[in-house]
Subunit: 199 residues, 2 copies
DNA sequence: TACATTTGCTTAACGGTGTTAAATTATTTA
DNA sequence: TAAATAATTTAACACCGTTAAGCAAATGTA
């Protein structure tokens, strides 16, 4: 009977509806306030039927993560295809990566574990800049230019911070990896950027 | 009466106990499973007592964050003091930053919003490497060495990834900042690393 | 058509969460 | 000793993820 297929198609559709509803809620209210009951509300069912489509809440997150990786790969691939030389390709691919992160903020957060519990109040925390200021100061001293413009120092600082914070984050979420390689990347990067500071 | 001070001292002590208990729980079970009742259990009180010392759960997290920043600043400062030349200082300071992140993993996670909801299952997700592989491939092609050793390519890849992921993370948690500066940092970094790829 | 079975979905419930208000106990003051 | 105040707990609310039981409609079978 064809009705079997029709029903199967409907089931697939509600599966998609669940994922879409979840993403919608997250876009509006953030990952913290995503709940099974809210998803159920949005798809006009009650919470328990979600468990017919996903093992649990984590199952939904996992599927969204998976889709995120697939979208990302797609964008990186098309970026590559638009160029010929490997250098141009590489640049375009990383820019595609960057753009993906902001086009699909919520997915990126989920994929790479970037999330802030309490963000607003953290801006009014003077202690947050203590270490930054110390480093800032030294960067200024290193620069051979006299009175380097503020935004130049700022850019150098952010470049440093990005690479080190990035390396740390990757290690914190992926647990360990290769300790020796990390040290080499870290030291290489620091030396490299210090040299590049007066480019 | 001196008892006033004694009582005040006791109150300060339980305040510290609350913070310590929270951190202990997080060290053992992660941020996700930190609860007011667990903290209360650990300090041998009931949950509502905590609200005499902190406005709410976020208040506890905020105070721990604050302490994290203070510790970090301390470690960076002493690292600086151990060297004379600004270049040596800068290197030592970033290494201190790095070491802080791993010595106080939980605090770092809290301070910079690095947390993974579902980490174990994510390892067995082949889609997670689709984009990585594409980029890997191109990096290999760029390298002038014939048959570059695996771990060298890997290091280059991680260097790229770190700086871009770091920059993205910082922007995702700090919301925006300077869009134009970001683009410059991004492009500079990419160009710089591509050049540095064949150092 | 009449009955039995399966399916789709909901209601109810369990143990957990953050948080608040009321009740209770202990301590200090008069 | 009685009254007032402080310290602490119990009870409750609304929410959470999740599971089991119940119900009602659709389906299969005689």
């Amino acid at each position: 009977m064809g009705s079997k297929e029709r029903i199967a198609r409907l089931k697939d559709e509600t599966r998609l509806n669940i994922l879409d509803a979840a993403l919608d809620i997250v876009k509006d209210e953030g990952w913290q306030s995503l709940s099974m009951r809210k998803i159920a509300d949005k798809i006009e069912y009650t919470a328990p039927i979600i468990y017919e489509y996903f093992a649990n809440k984590e199952g939904i997150l996992l599927e969204l993560t998976r889709r995120g990786y697939i979208i990302l790969a797609g964008e990186v691939r098309t970026a590559k295809q638009l160029h010929e030389s490997p250098a141009d390709q590489l640049e375009a691919m990383w820019i595609a990566y960057w753009n993906f992160a902001f086009k699909y903020k919520e997915l990126y957060r989920l994929m790479y574990g970037v999330d802030m519990n309490c963000c607003e109040l953290k801006k009014s925390m003077p202690e947050a800049e203590l270490a930054d200021d110390l480093i800032y100061e030294v960067i200024e001293k290193i620069m051979t230019v006299d009175n380097p413009p503020e935004d130049l120092v700022c850019r150098k600082f952010y470049t440093f911070w990005s690479i080190i914070h990035g390396l740390i984050s990757i290690n914190l979420v992926n647990k360990g990896r290769n300790e020796e390689m990390n040290q080499r990347i870290l030291k290489d990067a620091i030396k490299g950027i210090i040299k590049y500071i007066n480019d």
